[in-house]
């Protein structure tokens, strides 16, 4: 056993120790390497639990190697493990060895959105009857407040279909030739995280609503995207529990029924 470091050396020793915990090649004296192994293993397990579909797409060995690269470059900044992994999707954008799996980063975005939804604040969701009760001539001034757990991931890839089959099916179902870009809505009705498909352009609708714009303005921004459908978008948003408040006019009030 090595003698404990002198008190005046402790600070220097700790910073060397902390730095070498995350670096693969760092030389660690005596039995300290066991701590590095534990740190790296626990962080990569946390990422594997958070990004199960990414892991399935590239395989466990590749995932582990990829996770360790990420851990070295972006070690946790917070002691809360549940907050770790926010930068993983962005890291995958530039991770050359995985470039072949072009949709990997978007799948990671979707899985991170699910993780955030799982931990988001609870609020009651409104049903679409609240919207149909508004007089038709006042509809364009309707402002919708999103549920704290709701978010949208728009992708150039069929990200909802890829996620769905890899998350639920023992055997991955091949996607048809027609599979194109998809827009995913993540919500948490009844405390279950749900992934739904929204029409193309709905990300613009949701972003405009989140900025506090009225429904007419939000629809106008989304309608410039080919394939956008107002009725389908509103139906999916309300049905999935994405809307938590509704007000008419410029005054924006939270209504939690």
């Amino acid at each position: 056993m090595r003698e404990p470091p002198e008190a005046n050396d402790l600070r220097a020793w700790q910073s060397v120790f902390a730095a070498s915990l995350l670096r693969a090649g760092a030389i660690m004296p005596d039995r300290q390497a066991v701590h590095r192994n534990n740190t790296r293993a626990s962080l990569s397990s946390a990422l594997a639990a958070r990004f199960p579909v990414v892991r399935r797409l590239v395989g466990p060995d590749f995932f582990r190697a990829m996770a360790l690269c990420f851990i070295e470059r972006q070690p946790p900044r917070s002691p809360v493990l549940a907050e770790y992994g926010a930068g993983f999707a962005h890291f995958l954008d530039g991770f050359a060895p995985a470039r072949e799996v072009a949709y990997l980063a978007d799948v990671a975005r979707l899985e991170w959105a699910r993780h955030l939804a799982f931990h988001a604040e609870e609020a009651a969701a409104l049903s679409i009857e609240r919207l149909t009760a508004v007089a038709p001539d006042r509809l364009e001034q309707v402002r919708l407040g999103l549920h704290p757990a709701a978010s949208v991931v728009a992708s150039a890839w069929p990200v909802v279909s890829i996620w769905t089959t890899n998350a639920h099916d023992q055997e991955v179902r091949p996607l048809g030739d027609g599979a194109g870009s998809e827009c995913a809505l993540v919500t948490r009705p009844e405390l279950h995280v749900l992934v739904s498909a929204l029409p193309a352009g709905s990300d613009r609708l949701v972003a405009a609503l989140a900025e506090g714009n009225g429904l007419a303005e939000a629809v106008a921004r989304a309608a410039t995207v080919e394939g956008f459908d107002t009725a389908t978008a509103l139906s999916v948003l309300f049905r999935s529990g994405a809307v938590a408040s509704l007000s008419v006019g410029s005054f924006h009030s939270m209504e939690l029924s």
Partner: protein, 96 residues
């Protein structure tokens, strides 16, 4: 588009959205469900009576008496699980 036709287009879309939602079974309504305690497998609970708000899927043990799962209304008391020690127990509407 004139102001008038924007009105109409939006009203029509809302009406259509409402029709699509009808019958789709609002996933946000739980009028036909009840919270059933003591029947959820480890990691399969909907929530628990232990005051944890990020609770879904967080139980560590099978049939945790404080963890609940949504079931169809009226069916909780008829659910029976076999505990590790071989004892049988029914679901309850309150934490045990």
């Amino acid at each position: 588009m004139t102001v008038r036709s924007t009105h109409l287009a939006l009203a029509a879309a809302v009406a259509a959205a409402s029709l699509m939602s009808a019958g789709a079974g609002a996933q946000t309504a739980n009028a036909d469900k009840e919270k059933c305690f003591g029947i959820a497998m480890a990691g399969k609970n909907d929530c628990a009576a232990t005051g944890n708000n990020s609770c879904a899927g967080q139980t560590k043990a099978d049939y945790d008496a404080k963890a609940w799962k949504y079931v169809a209304k009226g069916t909780c008391a008829s659910m029976e699980v076999t505990l590790k020690d071989g004892m049988k127990r029914k679901g309850t509407l309150m934490p045990m």
